[in-house]
């Protein structure tokens, strides 16, 4: 789908337009970083203009943590944050409200159409190699990543561990900053950097052989959107009168689902490829009142 590819390119550019970095070698620290980008994009990326919602969520959890600390950010910054954190819960409200609003309105539409990391996975999967399916149980990983790694652990430890291990952070933040260092001198590369690189390499290799493994198994933002997808106002619909269960939808699906089994599956990234590929025009989509359709949507399956 040409439109989706252009949308993904545009999403990547909108999230990362700070090309001034090449001249100034200074990470953007303006007001736009107070806004979250709806897709998964590291805000330590030298080109990033906006905040990563999951990074912001974790940092908000650490702000309300009884063990609040920013281990390596420097005492001046820690003091500055503490001084401004008169309402430490406000950032959490803002971020959860933002993620929730995007999720309830569009479900995982963002994952399929504008997320830069999803885009990367779509491209890597095009490399011709033997392909492997993702074990079904792994899809629960994204919920674990959201609740435990991105929320609970940062609250308990006061440290944003999801960001520290995130392959998107390594690819978009750590590696570019190492290759094109900012004016502020960087500490020497340590073992943790290599651990991050190892995680990144594993995921990159996995992306070549499996459809969107990070989105499906480890993305905390995808987990949040997935949880809201069944209730979202953007709906996928399958017309039971037209569907013949031919399987064209699953064959073209970037996340390997049968849309006629569950039109609004939490796994669906709303790429709309199935809508285009369906030979009978049985798949449709659009904004509407949730649960209002007379066409079957969830679990009722196609006609016998």
């Amino acid at each position: 789908m040409v439109a989706r590819r252009w949308s993904q390119v545009l999403g990547t550019l909108v999230a990362n337009p700070w090309f001034a970095y090449f001249g100034t070698r200074t990470i953007y620290q303006g007001k736009a970083k107070g806004l979250c980008f709806p897709g998964f994009n590291c805000y330590a990326c030298p080109l990033a203009l906006f905040s990563c919602p999951i990074g912001a969520l974790q940092q908000s959890m650490t702000l309300i943590s009884p063990r609040f600390r920013t281990a390596s950010a420097g005492q001046a910054v820690v003091t500055a944050v503490k001084r401004t954190a008169s309402y430490p819960v406000s950032a959490l409200l803002y971020v959860v409200g933002f993620i929730g609003l995007v999720g309830i309105l569009t479900g995982r539409l963002v994952c399929g159409w504008i997320c830069p990391f999803g885009f990367l996975q779509d491209l890597l999967y095009k490399i011709p190699t033997p392909k492997l399916p993702l074990p079904q149980w792994m899809r629960f990983g994204k919920y674990f990543a959201l609740v435990v790694v991105a929320m609970l652990i940062p609250y308990i430890t006061g440290v944003h561990w999801y960001s520290r291990l995130c392959p998107a952070g390594s690819l978009e933040g750590a590696v570019p900053l190492e290759l094109l260092p900012p004016k502020t001198p960087l500490p020497d590369v340590g073992w943790f950097f290599w651990l991050k690189i190892a995680i990144l390499v594993v995921f990159l290799a996995w992306m070549v052989v499996t459809k969107r493994p990070f989105c499906r198994a480890a993305c905390a933002l995808g987990g949040a959107y997935a949880a809201l997808t069944p209730f979202s106002f953007y709906r996928m619909r399958v017309d039971s009168a037209k569907c013949t269960s031919c399987g064209s939808c699953k064959a073209s699906c970037p996340v390997d689902i049968n849309i006629y089994e569950n039109a609004n599956s939490p796994e669906c990234v709303r790429c709309l490829t199935c809508k285009k590929e369906c030979p009978n025009g049985a798949v449709s989509s659009g904004f509407g009142r949730p649960y209002s359709s007379t066409i079957f949507e969830r679990g009722s399956g196609p006609p016998a």
Binding site: S51, A56, P182, G190, P290, Y291, G299
Partner: protein
Amino acid sequence: MATWLGRIRAPYLLLAIFLVMLVTGLLLGGFGKVFINGIVICLDCIGLI
């Protein structure tokens, strides 16, 4: 479960809750906090290298 949630109009309830959270967060200065957080986490990531 999903039907039951639909019956109680969960999507509208969730929409309202998230909207209230977002607006309340903004009114209490959440934008500024995320802004500061963005800077902190950037610096922290640099520190990890």
